[in-house]
């Protein structure tokens, strides 16, 4: 680069010559940086900049040779052109001299690496726009499983090579420009606030390199045991004028219908015969037969509005009933009986709104011999699917370098992120999730448009779920509240939450070239954010009104010193060595305050508005420091044999002082065997590699000493309790031992290449808060113990099936299979519960996998479920039977991209095969009679919900213990009195196993059509250097899935407990984006 600038300035002296300007790009239209442009027969040459642009003084008749790594040189004869556009055909399988960013930001040529990494360019990453860069990694890296949620700005799981830790984080570490980037899940109080890697500006990313195994990542210390996502951001380039890029995109979303619930429309709201009593006998079906406020004592049919199931009376237009709206003053049906029919607007999509995202960014960069800078600003606005919800972000990225002397350069980078959100989506089984209504507890006689009108007209909690008492006491305007559920619009507009985050991520660094082969780097970095979260539960809601305010902060400082050695020892040997130290200090704090006993003044949200004295805020303050020193050496023989060894020593504050030091050794070797065999036309390169590494791990903060918790003083007397975690002063570091072997090859002029890796990682001596018997007095004991092994195969294939003039077809395939095995658990225990939910568990099971689903199961005869004499299933007496495994059999992705002149088309198919998910929605929604299979006809052609005596009921598929088919009908007429027969909930007819589904999917994840205005058109425009247009789609089509009404990818926020359990997910969104990029 420096050379180019120098040459340009020298050449400009020769005035008789003319200056030719050119642009070098690859077949995909991507600029080729550092291409060499040489005048044939001379030593005059230059190189292209990051935009692929070069300038050179030439004379007519000169021939320019344009060449680049991995591309055949192109010759262009100068006649009278002043502008050139050169396309280089870069080989698809770039194994040779591609530079990748490895641990600690050290760039190494890919061919020399003795371990598995996979690099993705910004172009590959950002084909479709996203507000969370993490989600765009899905399907693009072998061995990387990304699970994105459908919540607004929600969480994503990023798991490399399987779940290794029983209880601590399994999420990959993010590193941006050599500095760890915090990715903690911010979710709280049942709202999904997302992970903080979503603060990374997708427009600022230059490349992503994924370090999959421990050998690649060991230098990062303990956090690297789950693999590392190394992100390199864009750098300023040396150029005469400023480079300016403006990017503007709009994304419109529609609902993927296959992820929306469908309802039966034969029966409405009610809970069977609930509510009948001697004083209020039944009348028609399952209505209450009671006097209401305006019936002058006469009894009328009233819908069981206090119930939230759809197991009420059969719809019948001839029946006139008091529906919920008869009790909502101002409603057109107030005080009136109306025909008993499904409502016109009862669907999820009558409530949810189509989302819109806009992204606008500007990037400016420039530079001279003295240094470079870049400055970027991005604004995103993401309107969610729930009414009154959004996430707004402002991102500012600035980085600069300055060359103080030839040897000394300094640099700095600062990123400021500001995020503001309204109404993050609830994801737990609670009132905070409006999605729960539409998937579990709902009646199709409820009209959402009326609920909306009622709320906006009265600004009260006009409820579809009136308490029974409302019938008797409501005398106009004297509204009572709901029994269980608030009006969903009240929930969105009155019980709203908001959060904001301000983040600074930056570093200052110094680089000094001590000698030609020795380089010293010092860097200090900061990652800091503070957040505010507020949640309101308004006066008039079902439960006690409250206001909650949580202030939290995160801070990480890293101080790095690094000495780099790189020298050719003789003509055959090159030695690279490094020696460094790292001090990492983190501190996480939070203050969580909530009002007590209600709010005094409605719609006034301050802690001071608490009806009773609030409890003292809950405070946390977790500080930690890890001090590490490390060293490494890489010895290369000729250009085909590389031997690499590293060691790191860490000392952590979270371990006992006498046992707080631990080591991570790693050794690897790479051998390019193709260099030793005669060049053939079909084999271009072949390489094998092998490595072994150990990564240590420390304990969570404050897990050595037992502590006490202060409670709210009782009658002015102090009250304390012991923590229910039994900490352990004897903890020692845990270890992950792993090895990996790999084979890479490229054939047929690099038209096809593959990279296959086999790995095994065994995590031993895990620091685990095991679940003891609570008879100990504790809910958890910290111990060292437990071994989990993950082994697997990763395969990636790159191919160029077609390459003709103006047209290229590129294909990339990633495939991986990971097998998780729990080899042992502390104390010989057979299983460890990772999390528990309604009647089910997710466990790590000795001899089996991390991630086994457990719950009630059938008993079987010849593979068929057994029923008893009454026609009901006989459950397995083990209520914690194994009923599923959340781990997929394999995951994969195929990207096809086609390039024709300035047009390109690409699409990504993302596949997950296998893995189980338990659906609480389908379980509860079946119990509540919401779904189509809970109605309809039985084998006799009668409605299943009629009584047995009237020909109703259904035969559960199964056999008797003797193997004969079940022929006994069971009653499904009344959710309670008859034993409503669809659900495992509360011991009804189906076990939990019935609601465990195969979570496989095949998705058309990305589809992009892009067009770049031709250079000859651009050249006629003033100022502008490029115009790129794109039309893209994301998650357009779930080609295959087995889970009804929802996206099988959905989980519960992120983290170990988030997978394999589905509760009230939001529908998946098909996102269509239009994007314009202008370059100046």
């Amino acid at each position: 680069m420096l050379l180019a600038v120098l040459l340009l300035s020298v050449l400009s002296v020769f005035s008789q010559q003319k200056v030719v300007t050119g642009k070098v790009s690859d077949v995909n239209g991507k600029p080729v940086e550092s291409a060499t442009i040489q005048i044939k027969g001379s030593k005059i040459a230059t190189t292209s900049d990051s935009q692929g642009i070069f300038k050179l003084s030439v004379k007519a008749g000169n021939i320019l040779i344009i060449s680049s790594v991995n591309a055949a040189p192109v010759e262009v004869k100068i006649v009278n052109q002043t502008e050139l556009s050169v396309v280089l055909e870069i080989a698809a399988a770039q194994l040779n001299e591609v530079l990748v960013t490895t641990a600690l930001g050290i760039k190494r040529s890919r061919s020399s690496l003795p371990y598995s990494t996979q690099q993705i360019t910004a172009e590959e990453l950002n084909r479709t726009p996203t507000t969370n860069v993490v989600n765009n990694l899905s399907g693009k890296v072998a061995g990387l499983q990304v699970t994105a949620s459908t919540t607004l700005g929600g969480s994503s799981n990023v798991i490399l090579r399987g779940f290794k830790s029983l209880t601590q984080s399994n999420q990959a570490l993010f590193v941006v420009d050599g500095v760890p980037y915090d990715n903690t899940n911010q979710s709280r109080n049942g709202f999904d606030l997302g992970n903080t890697a979503s603060d990374i500006n997708p427009d600022d990313v230059e490349s992503v390199n994924v370090l999959k195994g421990a050998a690649a990542s060991a230098l990062y210390g303990s956090r690297a045991s789950n693999g590392v996502i190394v992100i390199t951001t864009k750098k300023g380039a040396k150029r005469k004028a400023l480079g300016i890029t403006i990017n503007s995109g709009t994304t419109l979303g529609t609902f993927d219908k296959s992820t929306l619930p469908e309802y039966q429309l034969e029966y409405g709201e009610g809970y069977g015969s609930a509510g009948y009593s001697s004083s209020f006998p039944t009348h028609d079906g399952f209505f209450y037969w009671v006097p209401v406020f305006n019936s002058n004592g006469a009894r009328v049919n009233v819908v069981q509005t206090n119930q939230d199931a759809d197991t009420g009376p059969a719809y019948d237009a001839s029946l006139s009933v008091y529906n919920w709206d008869a009790f909502s003053p101002g409603n057109k049906n107030y005080g009136k009986a109306t025909p008993w029919l499904p409502a016109a607007h009862h669907s999820y999509t009558d409530f949810a709104e189509k989302p819109i995202t806009t992204t606008n960014s500007i990037f400016v960069d420039g530079g001279s011999e003295k240094g470079t800078f870049k400055l970027g600003y991005t604004n995103t606005y993401d309107k969610g699917i729930l009414p009154n919800s959004y996430v707004k972000k402002n991102l500012i990225n600035f980085a600069s370098t300055y060359n103080v002397t030839d040897r000394l350069s300094v640099g700095s980078s600062i990123n400021y992120i500001n995020e503001n959100s309204l109404n993050r989506n609830g994801y737990t089984y609670s009132v905070s999730s409006n999605s729960r209504n539409f998937r579990q507890w709902w009646g199709t006689n409820i009209d959402l448009n009326e609920l909306k009108d009622d709320y906006f007209r009265t600004k009260t909690n006009a409820s579809w779920n009136w308490n029974t008492a409302a019938y008797l006491t409501n005398t106009g305007g004297n509204l009572s509240k709901g029994a269980y559920h608030d009006n969903p619009y009240w929930q969105q507009y009155e019980n709203y939450n908001n959060d904001s985050r301000d983040r600074i991520f930056g570093n200052v660094n110094l680089n000094y070239k001590i000698t030609s082969y020795l380089n010293f780097t010092a860097r200090t970095s900061l990652d800091y954010y503070s957040s505010l979260f507020e949640y309101r539960y308004a006066v008039g809601s079902v439960s006690t009104p409250s206001y909650r305010k949580v202030l939290s902060s995160f801070k990480e400082n890293n101080y790095d010193f690094l000495l780099n050695f790189d020298k050719n020892l003789n003509k055959n040997f090159n030695l690279k060595a490094l020696l460094g130290s790292n001090i990492r200090q983190t501190r996480t704090t939070s203050t969580d305050a909530v009002t007590n006993g209600g709010l005094i003044v409605p719609r006034y949200y301050a802690l001071a508005n608490s009806a009773k004295t609030p409890a003292a805020p809950v405070e946390t303050d977790a500080a930690k420091e890890v001090d590490g020193i490390f060293g490494g050496a890489t010895l290369a023989y000729k250009d085909y044999l590389t031997v690499d060894a590293t060691i790191r020593r860490d000392k952590s504050s979270t371990l006992p002082s006498n046992n707080n030091t631990y080591y991570y050794p790693a050794a690897s070797a790479g051998f390019i065997f193709s260099k030793l065999i005669p060049q053939t036309s079909w084999l271009n390169i072949g390489k094998i590699r092998a490595n072994y590494a150990e990564v240590g791990g420390d304990a969570p903060v404050y897990s050595l000493q037992n502590t006490f918790t202060a409670g709210t003083a009782f009658n002015s007397q102090a009250l304390f309790t012991a923590s229910t975690t039994n900490n352990n002063p004897q903890l020692r570091s845990e270890k992950t031992k792993s090895y990996e072997i790999g084979l890479e090859a490229a054939f047929l002029h690099n038209r096809i290449g593959f990279d296959v890796t086999y790995y095994t990682a065994k995590t031993i001596d895990q620091i685990t808060p095991i679940t003891p018997s609570t008879a100990t007095g504790y809910n958890s004991f910290y111990v060292n113990g437990g071994t989990v092994q993950n082994s697997g195969v990763e395969l990636s294939i790159n191919a160029v099936p077609v390459k003709i003039k103006n047209f290229t077809w590129n294909l990339t395939l990633n495939w991986s299979k990971n097998v998780s095995k729990v080899i042992s658990l502390y104390g010989g225990q057979p299983s460890y519960a990772i999390t528990s939910w309604q009647k089910g568990q997710l466990v790590a099971e000795t001899g089996s996998s991390w991630g086994i689903l457990r719950g009630t199961d059938y008993t079987y005869k010849n593979g068929k479920p057994i029923v008893n004499a009454n026609g009901y299933y006989v459950f397995n007496s083990n209520t914690k039977s194994d009923i599923g495994n959340i781990n997929p059999d394999w995951i994969g992705g195929i990207t096809n991209s086609f390039k024709y002149k300035n047009w390109s088309l690409s699409f990504l198919i993302d596949v997950k095969q296998g893995g189980s998910v338990y659906s609480l929605d389908l379980d509860y929604g079946s119990y509540s009679g919401l779904y189509p299979w809970t109605a309809g006809k039985n084998d006799l052609g009668n409605s299943v919900r009629k009584t047995i005596a009237n020909g109703g009921g259904l035969i559960l598929p199964g056999v008797h213990a003797d193997g004969t088919a079940n022929t006994t009908r069971i009653d499904a007429s009344d959710i309670n009195a008859g034993g409503f027969s669809f659900s495992s909930a509360d011991g009804f007819s189906q076990p939990l196993k019935h609601f465990v589904y195969d979570a496989s999917y095949i998705k058309l994840r990305e589809l992009a059509i892009a067009y770049s205005l031709p250079q000859h058109v651009i050249n006629r425009l003033p100022v502008i250097k490029g115009i790129d247009l794109s039309l893209t789609g994301r998650n357009l089509w779930i080609i295959h899935k087995n889970l009804p009404y929802a996206d099988p990818e959905q989980g519960q926020a992120s983290g170990n407990a988030s997978i394999g359990f589905q509760n009230a997910p939001y529908p998946s969104i098909r996102a269509y984006a239009f994007n314009v990029k202008l370059k100046f």
């Binding site: 009593s277 069981q304 020795l518 000493q705 009782f714 009658n715 007397q717 008879a775 007095g777």
Partner: protein
């Protein structure tokens, strides 16, 4: 080269800036020690909350006993206990017994007077015995000798009968060891405000209760221990009742019944039809003190096991739903019922069964806010009078004890199991189920996964060898 060594020196200086790494690992927001009396109050309040809660996932005993029943979600009313039985176990061991143990360990740090120290420890132990009484008579064999040990994550279970005998022995030494002329916990004890004499009566009454628990399996020991207890001095009036008055200034310090039934906005329970109709049938003066009138102006309750609509039946009385309404752990009424039973069993505790029965019923009516006159009228009815009421002494005492235990949650269920009356399986079986009244709680499912070897052994030791709710505890006839 000099330069290089300079930088290397910097590296090592930098990496050795580790002056106080270990100090950093001390949680600034959670102390490693706490005042002993504050721990005692934490334990005591947790025990009371556990005893008083309405949570069906912890203590649905009022529902079992059909004092209350459920409205919409009727699983516990139908005696379906899947996933229910963990809360009771977890809370007693972790929030109650653990904190009594922590308090006992911490007392020597704070209390200098040896007599006070001894009293404090003994009072903690009495409540620990009370806690174990709840456990062992709910599940059967439970971890005891290896429980509450920081180094044993998977404790073995001990034989239930052995545990009960040991609890009696612990009460023996507590009664002997309390020094009534010395002070104790003061206001950190929210039951007796540190009154050692009352704790001594409490311990004696608890001993009497445990003695009668084993009366059917070991009559001679029961007799000896009951006599010892009475001689030591049991509760003598309602002013001796072990009541715990809540603090309404904070929600979490309020009566859990108010928290769960009023403050939550939920309507999960109604008085049971069997309970209300029994009170109505006996012209019980406690009826209007316990429940309200229904919208029709009469008294009615929900059918156990059926779905019941809130608002069309009688509701709980205002005093019962008050945020300060006291919990009652052991009372004079129960003491007199126990004495009546002792007389019937031929234990020479003095008085007649009838006199103790009358005292018991009167104490309960007074406790709920009735008058002595109304109690006398009530007792004069042939359906209530001890001599003329229906059935054996077990039935007479059983029915009246059940009514008196309207707010005694666990004890209401336990006395039905022990005395056999009211025999709900016969007189009021819940609709929609063939299940019988649970005789015990199955062990928490978590024990099956977290302590499987010992859980298996304990299950095998149960009558029938299976961990089911129909297995009889050692004292159930």
């Amino acid at each position: 080269m000099k330069k290089i060594s300079f930088y290397i020196t910097i590296l090592f200086i930098a990496s050795s800036c580790t002056k106080s790494l270990t100090d950093l690992n001390t949680d600034p927001k959670s102390p490693v020690s706490a005042p002993s009396t504050a721990l005692f109050l934490g334990a005591q309040k947790n025990l009371v909350d556990l005893y008083n809660t309405t949570s069906v996932s912890s203590a649905p005993f009022r529902v079992f006993a059909q004092i209350w029943t459920e409205n919409t979600y009727v699983t516990e009313s139908r005696y379906i206990l899947d996933g229910v039985t963990a809360g009771f176990w977890n809370n007693i061991y972790t929030t109650s017994i653990n904190n009594f143990e922590q308090a006992k360990t911490a007392f020597p740090n704070d209390v200098t007077d040896p007599s006070v120290l001894r009293n404090d420890k003994i009072i903690s132990d009495i409540l620990e015995v009370y806690s174990y009484n709840l456990l062992v008579n709910t599940y059967g064999n439970v971890p005891y000798s290896q429980a509450q040990n920081r180094t044993i994550p998977f404790p073995k279970y001990d034989d239930a009968k052995t545990i009960v005998y040991d609890l009696i022995t612990r009460l023996d030494s507590s009664i002997a060891g309390l020094n009534t002329s010395a002070n104790s916990l003061g206001n950190s004890d929210q039951i007796y405000k540190g009154n050692v004499t009352k704790w001594k009566k409490f311990a004696a009454t608890l001993k009497l209760k445990l003695a009668l628990l084993i009366a059917d399996v070991d009559a001679s020991k029961a007799s000896a221990k009951a006599l010892e207890a009475v001689n030591a001095g049991v509760l003598q009036s309602n002013s001796d009742n072990a009541t715990f008055t809540f603090d309404a200034s904070a929600v979490i310090n309020s009566n859990l019944i108010w928290q769960n039934l009023v403050n939550s906005g939920r309507h999960d329970f109604v008085p049971s039809a069997f309970f209300v109709s029994t009170l109505v049938g006996l012209n019980d003066p406690r009826l209007p003190l316990l429940v309200t009138k229904d919208p029709n102006g009469g008294y009615s309750g929900g059918i156990a096991g059926a779905g019941n609509a809130y608002g069309i039946f009688s509701d709980f009385s205002a005093q019962w739903l008050s945020p300060t309404y006291p919990a009652d752990l052991l009372d004079y009424s129960e003491t007199e019922f126990l004495l009546a039973e002792a007389v019937e069993r031929g234990i020479a505790v003095g008085g007649t069964a009838e006199s103790h029965y009358n005292n018991a019923v009167t104490a309960s009516i007074l406790f709920w806010g009735g008058t002595a006159a109304s109690a006398a009228t009530y007792l004069a009815q042939p359906s209530v009078a001890y001599t003329t009421a229906t059935g054996t002494w077990k039935q007479k005492i059983g029915y009246q004890k059940w009514l008196a235990f309207a707010n005694r949650n666990w004890d209401s269920w336990t006395e039905i199991r022990r005395l056999g009356y009211p025999n709900l399986d016969v007189v009021s079986p819940p609709v929609g189920t063939t299940n019988k009244l649970p005789l015990r709680y199955p062990y928490p499912a978590a024990e099956q996964s977290s302590n499987p070897i010992n859980w298996k052994a304990a299950s095998t030791a149960l009558p029938g060898g299976l961990d089911v709710q129909t297995a009889k505890l050692f004292w159930i006839q």
